[in-house]
């Protein structure tokens, strides 16, 4: 995808001289926390200018790293940004250079993201997220009309997608160059697909009643959504062009906020079937609704299933919104944990970071959460109120 390939980086393997200061005692064990998260890897960073240094630390915060003095570091990251971003990683246990790269083309910021992703992938084995994209809703005020935008995951490089001048909501990525979203362009809520390369868009659900909350399957070929044409807001699935529509729930009380399991076989959603909001799962091809417990947490909404399949992040409404998560399998299934104040959390491709929205100074802002450490940092401010992020993954 062109958008994700803006960083047309030329990679140069540098013949950097090995340099190996004596390391003190280093903690090289890969400790595992309660829910199986690897502990953050202690690294030091030196040699970069302020902007690259800050960007690199921001990126690495959400990919499993913590920053320490050079003599405490498991890996020492050093480099420069004179004309191009160069970086190398020195393993303080083996005393070997594990990564040495230079980046050209695009912007210094893009080069820095590329370096961060290479470092993360090399040292953690998980995919980097620093070059990934998000879509979100931006409203001039905290309610009413808004438009869909896409941006870098950290809120930079914002580009508009819609200019409908009506309520637009719940964008979802269906592949690297397609968005689905809700727009009131035709008076009421309908669901549209929007090709980001060609600009072409079309209604994929425009039935009588409201057509709401689209969620594209991980392979981008199907869509789960909430339609009210049957007399109640129920869960449906269809092909991404709207064909082969199938109704999955028939409750009287109504459903909302579907999301997909990473294998595309299950859909997690909110139902008021029991009289109040709760999380449920249902096979994407149809079958029985099954409750996903959220012990200790009431009024769960806005679920999102992690790409590694292990967790569902959701919003608890207990006199204020909280980002929570719950294991979907294993001995802790259904045992929910509160992570941060905020709403509408969505997993990053690395199944570690979550983007969500929170209110600061009466503005909705997008923020990032490193789930294992509960660290939170705000994305760059997008004008107005930003919410309902969807992560391209």
């Amino acid at each position: 995808m062109k958008l994700l390939r803006l960083v047309a980086c030329t990679l140069l393997i540098l013949s950097l001289a090995r340099f190996a200061p004596a390391a003190e005692e280093l903690d090289i064990s890969h400790e595992i926390s309660v829910d199986g998260w690897p502990k953050p890897i202690p690294v030091s960073i030196a040699g970069f200018g302020p902007e690259v240094d800050a960007t690199l630390k921001f990126d690495l915060t959400f990919m499993g790293f913590t920053f320490v003095a050079a003599d405490k570091a498991r890996y020492q990251i050093s480099g420069s940004d004179q004309g191009r971003v160069e970086g190398r990683v020195l393993d303080m246990v083996t005393k070997k250079v594990t990564l040495a790269k230079a980046f050209t083309g695009s912007t210094t910021r893009s080069q820095t993201h590329a370096l961060a992703d290479d470092i993360a992938h090399t040292l953690t084995g998980r995919p980097g997220i620093a070059q990934s994209k998000i879509a979100c809703k931006v409203q001039p005020t905290g309610y009413g009309p808004g438009e869909i935008f896409i941006a870098d995951y950290d809120g930079h490089n914002v580009q508009p997608v819609t200019s409908d001048g009506v309520i637009c909501s719940s964008p979802t990525w269906a592949g690297p160059s397609m968005l689905l979203y809700n727009s009131y362009k035709f008076e009421k809520a309908d669901i549209f697909s929007h090709n980001l390369t060609t600009g072409a868009r079309k209604a994929i659900a425009r039935f009588p009643g409201s057509n709401m909350s689209p969620s594209a399957s991980p392979d981008g070929k199907r869509v789960a959504m909430i339609l009210s044409k049957g007399g109640s807001p129920n869960l449906y699935v269809a092909d991404v062009d709207g064909a082969n529509l199938k109704q999955l729930t028939t409750t009287r009380e109504g459903e909302s906020s579907p999301c997909w399991s990473p294998d595309g076989k299950m859909i997690c959603f909110v139902s008021r079937q029991s009289g109040k909001a709760a999380l449920y799962t249902v096979p994407a091809d149809g079958g029985e609704m099954r409750r996903l417990p959220t012990a200790g947490i009431s009024n769960p909404t806005e679920p999102d299933w992690s790409p590694d399949g292990k967790f569902v992040v959701f919003t608890a409404n207990m006199g204020g919104f909280s980002i929570c998560y719950v294991p979907v399998a294993g001995p802790n299934r259904g045992q929910a944990t509160v992570l941060a104040a905020g709403e509408d959390g969505v997993w990053a491709p690395n199944s570690r970071a979550v983007i969500f929205s929170r209110t600061k100074n009466n503005q909705h802002v997008l923020s990032l959460l490193d789930v294992p450490t509960k660290q939170v940092k705000d994305c760059a401010r997008i004008s107005g109120h930003a919410s309902q992020a969807s992560w391209a993954r």
Binding site: R206, N317, E343
Partner: protein, 203 residues
């Protein structure tokens, strides 16, 4: 509601009515299948006019004309009445706006007379006109949860209108979720104003 469950609910309602079990408050709730005038239990107080007969199990609440796919427009339904682009009269029934309890879509007993007034007036109008019902929520739910709840409120109003004899193909629902509050305060006084349903005439 699915067609298959409606007859069962109708039967349940009939059994309950024959057994003389009834609650006058429930008469106004859209969730409960209404009694017919003939077999309704005696109502003591407050006196509530008998509700019209239940809607027949067919056609479904939203008639479903065949779907076609048009290259520039995507999926559209043929035959459905279009409200987009038509003039709206938002003031005619502004005083008939009804209000809901927190996290509820039940039309409260005290609000029934407003729905009935709208139904009576609309039924007297010519068949070219349509009725749009809008559901709104307060800010205390999350965005898409409220979008569904607002739609459920609009559907409850629609069901009430249909039971009063308004043709189902002329009542349209729209949800605003929490996107269009009338009071920006953060108190129960403000929230109770925002949890509402509005009636709009489509000319």
């Amino acid at each position: 509601m699915k067609n298959s469950t409606l007859p069962a609910l109708l039967l349940t309602g009939l059994v309950l009515s024959l057994a003389g079990i009834g609650c006058t408050k429930k008469m106004d709730r859209t969730q409960v299948i209404p009694y017919t005038a003939a077999n309704a239990p005696q109502i003591k107080d407050p006196p509530t006019p008998p509700l019209p007969p239940p809607i027949p199990p067919t056609p479904p609440l939203f008639p479903e004309p065949p779907v076609i796919i048009i290259p520039d427009q995507g999926v559209v339904q043929t035959g459905a009445r279009v409200i987009e682009g038509r003039p709206q009269d938002r003031t005619l029934w502004a005083d008939k706006t009804i209000h809901f309890a927190y996290d509820s879509h039940l039309v409260k007993a005290g609000e029934g007379s407003k729905v009935e007034a709208v139904a009576t007036a609309f039924k007297a109008m010519d068949h070219a006109k349509d009725l749009l019902v809008e559901g709104h929520c307060d800010e205390r739910g999350t965005e898409e949860y409220n979008r569904a709840l607002g739609e459920r409120r609009a559907l409850a109003m629609r069901e009430y209108l249909i039971r009063l004899g308004v043709p189902s193909d002329r009542v349209h629902t729209k949800t605003f979720g929490k996107d269009q509050p009338v009071n920006l305060g953060q108190s129960e006084a403000a929230w109770s104003k925002n949890r509402r349903g509005e009636f709009i005439l489509i000319k």
